[in-house]
Symmetry: C3
Subunit: 159 residues, 3 copies
């Protein structure tokens, strides 16, 4: 009995469009019956933030980072064409018109397809993000978890 193929995506970027690409590939691979994991690290952790305002106990630096970083998928900026802040609104408008799936829905779809959403604990610590600020039902791990999955990956990407 053959094992399922694995797709492992490291989502480093905090950009809306790059996160969209990551989740579209992840959902596509899951539809092809791959075992899929998205490792959220650095700014990619923002895709997993809840959009409500929480006040966990933080150091000054951690508070600064927390304020400067977007809360959740829906608030992430574009990698390009951010002009006057218009970019994300335009993309979201176009997404609606074209019946493309916006990022928050892509994340829900990923959960329904049993894609593992993993948050990198080392960078959570670095950026001062607490578990209570991130979505429920995700997993936690470090570089060791990534290497263990990645070394058997049919598709490994860094986004």
């Amino acid at each position: 009995m053959a094992d399922k193929k694995k797709t492992n995506i490291i989502l480093f970027s905090g950009d809306y469009d790059k996160a969209m690409a990551a989740y579209i590939i992840a959902n596509g691979a899951a539809a092809y019956d791959h075992d899929v994991t998205i490792f959220h690290t650095f700014w990619g952790l923002n895709a997993l933030r809840k959009d409500e305002k929480l006040q966990p106990k933080k150091s000054f630096m951690e508070k600064m980072f927390g304020k400067m970083m977007p809360r959740g998928a829906n608030n992430m900026p574009l990698s390009k064409m951010q002009f006057l802040g218009m970019g994300p609104k335009m993309i979201k408008g176009v997404i609606q018109k074209h019946n493309t799936v916006p990022l928050p829905d892509l994340i829900d779809m990923a959960k329904e397809q049993d894609i593992t959403l993993l948050a990198c604990t080392m960078t959570m610590d670095l950026l001062g993000l607490k578990k209570e600020e991130l979505l429920d039902d995700i997993e936690y791990g470090g570089v060791a978890a990534y290497i263990a999955e990645g070394e058997d990956g049919a598709i490994n990407l860094f986004i």
Copy 2:
């Protein structure tokens, strides 16, 4: 009879230097007898745009995107050192001096080496790019086409 090894590159970026890197790796892999595909998605589609000014029928939003995005490889910006718009000219000047191959020639070379240049139809739709605006002799597909190739790839990269 062994199958050829596969190299699959997702070109997401619309930056001149990143597209150069993608095409240099692609041409290198083809020279090593790999079966190579470059999947152009999001801003990476700009590398496939014709540089002539076409006027296909578009919605207002699509026209905006069309104007804001560079037409073709030769007009793409740098990822870094874009200072005062000088960056790309400097790089292109240096490329000429060093007999390195500029991006439009790297794309021609890719075609001659039978590298498959594929445009992502989902993001074409999203950004309002029409087939008549893109280079001839390219292929079209979506995430399914990528997973089908990627899962057998010896080298899979997201650029």
Copy 3:
């Protein structure tokens, strides 16, 4: 006797945080007994620059690039949150507080773990970087060297 698994990372980016990610993954893979190579190309070459000021003979263009690019890992900018130049200092401050390893130490660790640090000669030439400006004990190669390693890679990433 089984060969060691291979991890090959192309470090294209000149950003401090992306280089950190590259070196953390590389060190992690080496700890898992992978044969690891980091191919430094384009702005990623800056991670290998010595931080002393050297004056090799250069053309005007090469001097310009040399001045505009950061000298060494410790001087690289962040990919995000570069606001007022505060970003890198904040990250480095936080790194210290959290006992995370800063980039220059990650590079030393990589050397101790026998990770191959390779500089892309084609882009060195393009950006006017000379061997005497880069760290000692590194290797040199081009796209052929990458394909030769990459086609057997268990983990291949472009960062």
